[in-house]
Subunit: 302 residues, 2 copies
């Protein structure tokens, strides 16, 4: 699981900071999460192959999370993209994009599917044999979802040497990987646990931005490998967090601790703070395993 | 008259090139012309004061000329702008912007006026005592206007020493600047030309992008101080220019020559060309006083 931060600052793009966008590489997918203005240039700078992005998840319709989407969709067209593209986001996103494509007379030559969201309960947006993506309903000034990306448990690991010594036919190896017991060539019952070990624990990534401090999400994200939680403010501006429906670094850490995640990533910093390390310091007091996102930073979760 | 090129490349924003946008400073106005994605960051890089921009002119609704507009309008709001903003552009631009503001529940706290254009004949969009702005109808794949910015003739220049020696009361100086004859303290008629000289010749800037080779514009832009004319292609891709309704550098130079402008600026280059100097070489053969636009370049026209 590899996460590339394309932008992690609140509000407006600036000379050296970008609004929210990130790419999650998981089980051979490249999922784009949010798409602030300038995302396509950030994708280029980070050498991410445009055609590998087939699913884009938009948390909400504030500009710093979606104003780059129409440009990216148009650029895909100019690059003669043929791959389907799926966009998941709040109701209205289809109208925003199609209106602009219509008025510029620039329809896409690839298939563009919109999946508009309205539910205030978690819903599964995407699922295949290896991964699933579901919404995490958040609490912000407008309708907003976080997203929970979950690997599915992999196959059990076969101890090949033992399977051979027990004289199990290779045609049965797949059954063993699926957890089944088998019969050896000698007609003996071989219990699965004799020749396999547990698969690697499935990883998960919970993306929560933007939101006020909202403990209602804790049961859903419990035990996640990584939680990205917005921290627009430090506690010194605590009084701004509630009315703007944003969180402080301390609040993000509190959610991480209660949800017993393995690691916390902070982001969506207000540009009023010149020293990001203060975010890490504040959060670390409550949840030590926390790191700072920054534009262009790559996190590998093995 | 000062022109700052924020972006002058065709199609998509890239790591080191920006789509179309430029700022014309003329008679104490800052006019923003077109607004591709990333324009607000380019404005910051070029240290242009956001609040001084009160008029934005959008040539057409292809993304590389307008996808940065909604972000700029939103950023103005976040910066607590109070000054009115006027946006001039093709019919539909109001719907694009207001839909996005509505869905993000982010109405502007300043007054935002849309002036939607549909006419295929030139119209005056803005006029005050010192400057006027009119559309230059162009011929592109969708409805497109260029813009002609014209200084008005200034006051006549008073030769103060002569006015004093002729004993003209200072209360009459303004009449002299306006070209009137006056009566001296001794009761003598003083002809205007005795105490004034001609004002500086008014300057003008014709912005023409995007368009196919379109000689119909020549009468309107005749004698302009500066013509910015798109040159998406060189003649080597001449066969692409007509169907995409773009121009070559040679065609841009032909328009400049026929219109007897003083200077030609080239821009809107296809990113397929690594060597911009070829554009200047091609155009110079027909119209020698031509220069290349480039992102961040500033032109002063004295």
């Amino acid at each position: 699981m590899k996460l590339t931060i394309l932008g992690c600052y609140a509000a407006t793009p600036r000379t050296f900071t970008n609004p929210t966008s990130q790419v999650l590489e998981i089980k051979n997918h490249l999922f784009l999460i949010d798409c602030g203005e300038g995302t396509q240039v950030q994708l280029r700078k980070n050498k991410i192959k445009f055609s590998k992005i087939q699913h884009i998840f938009i948390s909400h319709l504030h500009g710093d999370h979606c104003f780059g989407l129409v440009g990216l969709i148009s650029t895909f067209r100019l690059l003669n993209r043929e791959t389907d593209l799926h966009v998941y986001g709040p109701k209205g996103i289809k109208e925003i994009i199609t209106l602009q494509l219509k008025l510029s007379n620039s329809w896409t030559n690839y298939s563009l599917y919109f999946h508009e969201l309205e539910s205030k309960s978690p819903e599964v947006l995407y699922e295949d044999s290896k991964v699933s993506v579901e919404t995490i309903p958040l609490n912000h000034r407008i309708y907003t979802n976080g997203f929970l990306f979950k690997e599915k448990p992999g196959d059990r690991k076969l101890i090949i040497g033992r399977a051979e010594s027990l004289n199990i036919d290779v045609s049965l190896y797949n059954s063993l990987k699926k957890g089944k017991d088998v019969i050896s060539e000698e007609g003996e019952l071989i219990k699965n646990e004799e020749v396999t070990t547990d698969p690697a624990a499935p990883k998960s990534y919970a993306y929560c931005s933007d939101t006020v401090f909202y403990p209602e999400i804790i049961p859903q994200i419990k035990g996640s490998t990584v939680l990205y939680h917005e921290s627009t403010f430090l506690e010194d501006k605590h009084e701004l967090a509630a009315p703007t429906k944003h969180s402080t670094a301390k609040q993000a850490a509190t959610i991480a601790k209660e949800a017993q995640v393995s690691k916390l990533l902070l982001g969506h910093y207000s540009t009023r703070y010149p020293d990001l390390d203060k975010f890490r310091e504040e959060a670390s007091e409550i949840f030590p395993n926390c790191e700072l996102s920054d534009d262009g930073k790559i996190f590998l979760f093995e």
